[in-house]
């Protein structure tokens, strides 16, 4: 995916490696290890074997007959990344980087996490490979995503709440870099998406390309032709890059990236970089891309119902594909996302993550305008059932609230009782 860029790690004007000098040597070594692995066919074979045995790959491409009938247009297929171990496409990237860490001989991994999916995936990988693991997570996200923090800790990772800046994903990335500059000798930073300094965008896109490779042969087998369109939600952009790579060379396939429209892209509460007018070219977190920022270059606060899309930047590779018109960008609002999620659950018995539901929104807008001999693929990047706290909260479900209050009372009473017994 490097195209014909003059410089390695550039995609048109985007990308690069804007790293402090202290990391120069670390990146030189990482680039070497990555390029060696990439040139070695046995590395990819080992990766595919591992993902088949540990993470349910190849994931199915499910024909959503009821949704297709409901809209009466294109045949809707769903690529089931939710069926990966840990419940999302994040597993593809972390297991790939885990194999690389083994080759590099490092013993400790660190990662940033927003909603906690990438943190849980990294903690899982670390447990499997026997690495020490520290996860940086914004203090606000720690408070909002306790279930994922619980799992990371149970898996043996240390979770460090980040109290700087907006206390969310971007601040966790800064903090992970600060750890890395102090401990690069024994530590690898498992960046979670197709962003950051080179080689991360290219490397993570490579590991995620397994989605597109599978989807391409599956749609040919089930539908007998290329799809008319492929939909994916875009935060950093790793699941989108993963599936798009199976179709970028097929000019007839409309590739659609769906960003977080939040409360609407005309408001200041969204995370849309390619749609809307609040983003501009910038350099932060080690790379150049479209960032949501003010006139001075200070990053703006973002909002999305889906924590995994709540990020200021976008993959430099996707920014390029957007510029060239190869990828069409759309935005889905929080309200549209809830409606699409409800419809998908009721019609297919499938529960997409709030992030993935963004892709469903746009697919549902387009499907009725297409013909029955057209097929479309929605990349379902993750499953929603494990995010029950977030989704039940978003649904404002009264019986769920009663349950939480009841459980809270129960805990409070038992804590008070044991306190009294001590006194």
């Amino acid at each position: 995916m490097t195209e014909n860029s003059a410089q390695k790690g550039y995609y048109g004007p985007w990308g690069g490696a804007f790293i402090p000098e202290v990391l120069h040597q670390t990146f030189a070594e990482l680039n070497l290890a990555y390029e060696k692995a990439r040139a070695d066919e046995s590395f990819w074979q080992e990766y595919v074997r591992l993902m088949g045995n540990y993470s349910c790959r190849p994931t199915p491409l499910t024909y959503a007959e009821n949704l297709s009938n409901h809209f009466g247009g294109a045949r809707i297929f769903i690529k089931r990344e939710d069926l990966n171990h840990t419940g999302a496409h994040k597993a593809n990237n972390v297991m790939g980087q885990g194999l690389l860490v083994k080759r590099m001989g490092k013993k400790r991994v660190i990662a940033e996490t927003g909603a906690g999916q990438h943190g849980v995936a990294t903690a899982t990988m670390a447990a499997r490979f026997g690495f020490a693991c520290t996860i940086y997570m914004g203090e606000e996200d720690v408070a909002r995503q306790r279930p994922n923090v619980f799992w990371m800790e149970q898996l043996g990772a240390k979770v460090v709440p980040v109290t700087d800046g907006s206390k969310t994903l971007k601040d966790a990335i800064n903090e992970a870099f600060r750890d890395w500059v102090a401990r690069m000798d024994d530590t690898h930073y498992v960046l979670g998406t197709v962003c950051g300094p080179h080689p991360f965008p290219e490397m993570v896109a490579w590991f995620q390309s397994i989605i597109g490779q599978e989807a391409r042969s599956q749609i040919l087998e089930q539908h007998g032709a290329m799809p008319a369109a492929v939909y994916a939600c875009v935060g950093g952009g790793s699941n989108a890059m993963g599936i798009f790579q199976g179709f970028t060379n097929e000019s007839g396939v409309d590739l659609v990236g769906v960003e977080a429209g939040g409360k609407g892209i005309h408001t200041d509460q969204h995370a849309s970089r390619m749609t809307g007018s609040r983003a501009a070219a910038g350099v932060a977190q080690g790379y150049k891309t479209m960032f949501l920022q003010d006139e001075d270059g200070q990053m703006l606060d973002t909002h999305s119902i889906a924590a995994g899309l709540d990020y200021v930047g976008i993959s430099p590779i996707l920014a390029r594909l957007g510029d060239s018109g190869r990828v069409r960008f759309e935005a889905a609002t929080d309200d549209e996302v809830i409606a699409a999620l409800q419809l998908t659950m009721r019609s297919e018995g499938i529960i997409p993550a709030l992030e993935s539901a963004h892709a469903f929104v746009q697919a549902f807008k387009d499907a009725p305008k297409m013909n029955r001999h057209d097929a479309i693929i929605i990349n379902m990047s993750g499953r929603g059932d494990k995010d029950i706290f977030t989704i039940a909260h978003a649904f404002d479900d009264p019986s769920w609230k009663r349950f939480i209050i009841g459980r809270g009372d129960e805990y409070r009473n038992s804590m008070l009782a044991s306190q009294k017994a001590k006194d």
Binding site: F18, P20, E21, H24, Q25, D164, K170, R178, V283, G297
Partner: protein
């Protein structure tokens, strides 16, 4: 006189030079003004003026918080430029440098920023997230405007890398004393001494050594090994705890 020549001249009469640092707008420009006066009157040779950025990736907790507080209070890049211009006029005996992250230059317009800085008499620029590989136009424009692009050596730099980086730099080389972010203390040991010897061999430019210096002993241990001691986080902590008037005696004490 360019920055390198000025520093060499100062070194004829002093065993070691001092560079101090502050974050513009933290806690306020008014306090910055008083702190800078104390620094200048107590013989500081260079002052780094850090323009706040929302993502200060290479900084430690004290400076990160200072960046954030300054931004929360509404400091703008244009305020920083105007303030710097005023300080340069008021304290011609001090070499002023801007320290900031690349996005600040990039959004302002790289060419325009360098030109503005040079015109107001800024002597150098320190941009920790812009390695020479990404800074081709930046380095060229700095040369054209006779403003020193400060380069970094670190303990992880190979000898070859040091020479390569030094070729792009001017003014002095900022030698990071240890791995990690700003504000943590370092002791002089054989490995630090050996590292500074490697730095010396790699360049003719003066060597500034930073990160974690806060006492007279820290400065003394650098004499003969480096040309300039960098005081970063220590003055921010001092102003937080004791107010701006404590800065003068602190600086005086560092020089012994």
């Amino acid at each position: 006189m360019n920055l390198t020549a000025d520093l060499r001249k100062r070194l004829e009469t002093k065993p070691i030079l001092l560079m101090t640092h502050l974050v513009l707008g933290y806690p306020s420009l008014e306090v910055n003004r008083r702190v800078i006066r104390q620094m200048a009157e107590n013989g500081v040779d260079c002052i780094e003026l850090q323009i706040p950025f929302s993502e200060p990736m290479a900084d430690g907790p004290v400076i990160v918080r200072a960046n954030q507080e300054a931004l929360n209070q509404g400091i703008r890049v244009k305020d920083c430029l105007a303030f710097a211009e005023e300080m340069i006029r008021e304290f011609p005996q001090v070499n002023f440098l801007f320290m900031t992250y690349y996005n600040i230059l990039f959004r302002f317009g790289e060419e325009l920023f360098i030109q503005r800085a040079a015109e107001m008499g800024m002597k150098g620029l320190i941009v920790p997230d812009l390695p020479p590989e990404e800074g081709e136009t930046y380095l060229r424009r700095c040369r054209e405007q006779s403003i020193a692009p400060i380069m970094f050596f670190t303990p992880t730099s190979t000898d070859d890398r040091m020479r390569e980086v030094a070729d792009h730099g001017d003014g002095f080389i900022y030698c990071v004393a240890r791995k990690g972010v700003t504000g943590k203390q370092t002791v002089m040991d054989a490995s630090l001494a050996g590292y500074l010897e490697r730095c010396r061999k790699a360049t003719d430019l003066p060597l500034a050594v930073g990160f974690g210096i806060s006492r007279r002993e820290d400065v003394a241990m650098l004499e003969g090994r480096a040309d300039m001691a960098v005081i970063g986080t220590a003055t921010i902590r001092l102003v937080d705890e004791l107010g701006p008037d404590a800065v003068g005696p602190f600086i005086g004490g560092l020089l012994g």
